[in-house]
């Protein structure tokens, strides 16, 4: 089990989609929201994703494929 902290930036057209829910269910990850600033125009979230290494890799790939910008962050 590994935990990866990521910053997600998603565009307006994805604000209506349950992105965090779907990445977690599809790729067997546990999401913990550390920070979120979601408005009508855009969304920014800092998320801890926990799961095995392969799931994390696929999860990030899934998010990127949707058009979400994903940036890994260090966990203090």
């Amino acid at each position: 089990m590994a935990t990866l902290r990521v910053r997600l930036l998603f565009p307006a057209e994805l604000v209506r989609e349950p992105i965090i829910y779907s990445v977690a269910t599809r790729h067997h990850l546990i999401p913990n929201l550390r920070k979120a600033r979601v408005t009508e125009r855009s969304g920014e979230a800092i998320l801890d994703l926990s799961g095995d290494e392969e799931s994390l890799r696929q999860g990030i790939e899934y998010l990127t494929g949707l058009g979400v910008k994903v940036k890994p962050l260090p966990i203090e």
């Binding site: 604000v15 965090i20 829910y21 977690a24 546990i30 913990n32 929201l33 979120a36 009508e40």
Partner: protein, 80 residues
């Protein structure tokens, strides 16, 4: 299946718990964050939930039991 839109206020208690995820798994709900301003366990989230009526009701109580203030997205409807 019903949808419910709720306004949640977090007051620090759940900083280290994946609360929304645990809730969704416990009650079989899909959640979507539509607006939020949350950091370090403090702040608010406008959430859309989808699931069975009883599960939605139970999820609201589960959140309340953890100290989250659960309001409709209109927030306070009762007026003076």
């Amino acid at each position: 299946m019903s949808r419910r839109r709720v306004h949640l206020t977090f007051q620090g208690q759940l900083a280290d718990e994946p609360a929304l995820w645990n809730m969704s798994q416990e009650f079989g709900l899909v959640f979507n964050i539509r607006q939020a301003d949350l950091e370090g366990g403090f702040g608010w989230v406008m959430l859309e939930l989808e699931g069975g009526d009883d599960q939605l009701e139970a999820a609201v109580r589960w959140l309340e039991g953890r100290g989250v203030i659960v309001a409709p997205i209109e927030q306070d409807i009762v007026a003076g």
